[in-house]
C-alpha cells in the first residue's frame, strides 16, 4: 500500500472522475514514433505500455502484430526504459509484459530501472499472484505498484486473495479471451465488477475489447476507469504512413479521455 499509483487512483476517485488509460506497444510502429506518440497522451490519466514479447499468448492479432514489429526494431526493456526517461511529458506509466522478458533482464534490476524512469505500476499477464510475492516486494521497494488481473472466471474467494496482493488498482478483464477490439461490449465486466465490489474497495479499471468513446462511457458508469488498447494500436497501424499520425492519435486519445471524464 501507499504507492503513488494508488494515491493517484484515489485522487481521481475522490473528485468523482474516472481514469482513462490508453495502451501503446513499446517500439511500435518504430522506436522514434513510439516516443512521439508517448508525448501525445497528455489527455489521459495513466498510460499503459506493453513491453513486447515474442510469444504473447494473452494477446489478440493487433497487439501480436505490433509486438512482432517492435521486436524487429530491437525493442527491449533497456531501450524502453531509456525512452521513458527521455520522454517525460506524459502520464505515469503502467508497464504490461510477460514474465520471461522480466526474468531475462533480472527482476531486481527491472524494478529498479522501471521505478527510476517513472513506471508506477506493473502488470504481468502470465504471473499468477500467488507466485508473485517476491517480485511484488521488489516492485514496491521502487514505488512500482502491482496491478493484478481479475477475470470473469475468477471466483469471489480468489478475488479476495488477489485484492489482498494488489497495491495499485485491479484490472478487470472484460471478457474471457485475448486482447482485441470488439464491436460490442458484453455484460461480463459489469457482472465481474459487481462481484468484485462485494469483496474489495480497491479501484477497478476494465480492459480488453473496449474501443470507442461509447464503450468508455458505458464502462465508466460502473468501473473506476477504462483501458483502450487494440483499437489505438489499430489506428497507429492504419495511419503509420501519414505525417498526421501524432495529431490523429492525440485527437483519438482526447476523445476517449473526454468520454471517461464526463
Amino acid at each position: 500500500m501507499g504507492s503513488s499509483l494508488a494515491a493517484q487512483m484515489h485522487r481521481i476517485r475522490s473528485c468523482g472522475s474516472k481514469a482513462f488509460i490508453p495502451f501503446l506497444t513499446a517500439g511500435f510502429p518504430d522506436p522514434q514514433r513510439f516516443r512521439v506518440l508517448l508525448s501525445q497522451t497528455r489527455a489521459a490519466d495513466l498510460l499503459e505500455v506493453g513491453l513486447p514479447f515474442s510469444d504473447p499468448v494473452a494477446d489478440g492479432p493487433s497487439i501480436c502484430h505490433a509486438s512482432e514489429v517492435a521486436l524487429r526494431h530491437g525493442m527491449d526493456a533497456g531501450r524502453l526504459f531509456e525512452i521513458l526517461a527521455q520522454e517525460t511529458e506524459r502520464p505515469p506509466v503502467v508497464l504490461m509484459t510477460y514474465l520471461n522478458p522480466l526474468l531475462a533482464y533480472g527482476a531486481e534490476r527491472f524494478m529498479r530501472d522501471a521505478g527510476r524512469c517513472g513506471v508506477r505500476g506493473v502488470i504481468l499477464t502470465d504471473l499468477p499472484p500467488e507466485d508473485g510475492g517476491e517480485l511484488f516486494e521488489l516492485a514496491a521497494a521502487h514505488d512500482v505498484a502491482s496491478v493484478l488481473l481479475v477475470a470473469p472466471t475468477t471466483p469471489e474467494e480468489r478475488m479476495q486473495q488477489i485484492a489482498a496482493r494488489t497495491t495499485g488498482f485491479l484490472y478487470c478483464v472484460a471478457v474471457a479471451g485475448t486482447t482485441g477490439a470488439r464491436k460490442q461490449l458484453g455484460s461480463d465486466a459489469r457482472e465481474t465488477i459487481a462481484r468484485l465490489r462485494r469483496v474489495t474497495a480497491l479501484p477497478v479499471v476494465v480492459g480488453f475489447g473496449i474501443s470507442t468513446p461509447e464503450h468508455v462511457r458505458e464502462t465508466c458508469a460502473f468501473a473506476d476507469g477504462a483501458v483502450v488498447g487494440s483499437a489505438l494500436v489499430d489506428l497507429i497501424r492504419q495511419q503509420q504512413a501519414s505525417e498526421a499520425l501524432p495529431q490523429l492519435f492525440a485527437a483519438r486519445v482526447a476523445a476517449l479521455a473526454a468520454a471517461a471524464h464526463e
Binding site: 510469444d55 520471461n100 531475462a104 499468477p128 471466483p155 480468489r158 485475448t178
Partner: protein
Amino acid sequence: MSGEKRLTDPAPGGRTSARHALPDRGGWFGVYGGRYVAETLVTPLAELERAYAEARADVGFQEELGTLLENFVGRPTPLYFAARLSQQLGSRIYLKREDLAHTGAHKINNTVGQCLLARRMGKPRVIAETGAGQHGVATATAAALLGLECDVYMGRVDTERQALNVHRMELLGARVVPVDSGSRTLKDAISAAMRDWVSHVDSTHYVLGSVLGAHPYPMMVRDFQSIIGRETRTQILAAEGRLPNWLVACVGGGSNSIGLFFEFLDEPSVRMLGIEAGGEAIEPGRHAARFAAGRSGVLQGTKSYLLQDDAGNVLETHSISAGLDYCSVGPEHAYYHDNGRIQYDSIDDDEALAGFDALTRLEGIMPALESAHALGYLLLDRSRIEPGSLLVVNLSGRGDKDVQSVLRARGKP
C-alpha cells in the same frame, strides 16, 4: 490372460514412491513447472485438475480407458527384439513398438484419456496443437470415437511438410487451422490453441499433446503415457528376466520419453537417455537442443529450459523432425536433467537420417523421424551406451508421414 490384463491396468493410486511425489501440489517439479497463465485460465485449470483427480480415482473411468486402450488403440504394443540391429551394434536392443498403436504413434494413449475426460467434464468440443501432425491425428481420432467437435492448430510450415496428416485429420472430421504467426511451427500452434481455449473455456477442453504447459498438463499427460513403461517392465522381464541397462527415447516436448522412463525412475540400475534434435548445428535458430543451449525461462504456462535470446524472447528452432522442433521441454525433464537422473544428448539431422535408414533396412521398420533420433544415437562413435548393454528404445511412431521429408533431405523432389 490375467498377465495380459495387467498391462493395461491403471496407474497405482497410492503415491508411495519418489517419482510419484512430483509434481507437488502447486504443479512444481523442483523449481520447474507451475501454472504461468492469464487469470482467465487459472480457475479452469484448477477445475481440470480436480476433474482429472476424480477420474483417476474412478474405477469406471479407468476401466473404460483400459478397454479402449486394449481394443481401440491395440495395447499392449509389442516389445520387439531387433536381432539384426543388435548384431550390428553388439548390444541387445529391444524396440517398444508404439508405432503399432492405432494412428501410428504413442500420442493416442494421451488423446483417448483426455477426450474421455473432456466428455466426462461435459465439454462438447476439443482443440489441439500439432507439430508433426501425429497428435492432431490422434486427437481427431479420439474426438471421432467419442463424438466431440475438434479443431486442430498447426503451424503453416508444418501443414506443408506434413500434408498427409492434414488430410487424415480432415477426413476424421476435424478442422485444421493453419497458424501464420511467429515461426509458423509447433510453438505458434500452441499459442494459437491457448488463445482459442481462453476464449471458449466453457465449452472446450484443450487436449495438450505433450508434457508441457501449465499444471496439471505435464502430470496428466505423463500419467496417460506412463503405460508405455509399465508394459515395458512386464515385457522385458518376461523376455530377459532382468531390467534393461538403458532406456533411450527422443525428446521433443518429452511425452514418449517420460512415458517410457517414468516406471523405472526408482530403479537405480536402469539408466536413461533422452535425445534432442541437434538440427543443422548447435547455433541460435538452427537446432532444438534445449539442454545444450537453453536456460531457465517461462513460456506457455510452464517454467523449464528454453531457447531464448538475451532479452528473453524465444529463439527460432530447426529440426528435420517437426515433432522435435520446439523451443522448450517438459518441466519434469528439466528437473531430472538437473539432478542427473536422466541424461540428455542431441544428434543432428543427418545422424537422425542414418538412424532412419538403419532401422528401415536392417529390420524392415520405417521409424518416424522423431524416433529416428533415438535410433541414430546408437550408431554414433560417441554413444555413451556400453557394448553388450541390454536396452529398450522407444519407437514412438511410424515413418510413413516422413517419406516426403526424407526424400527432400536427399535432394529428391
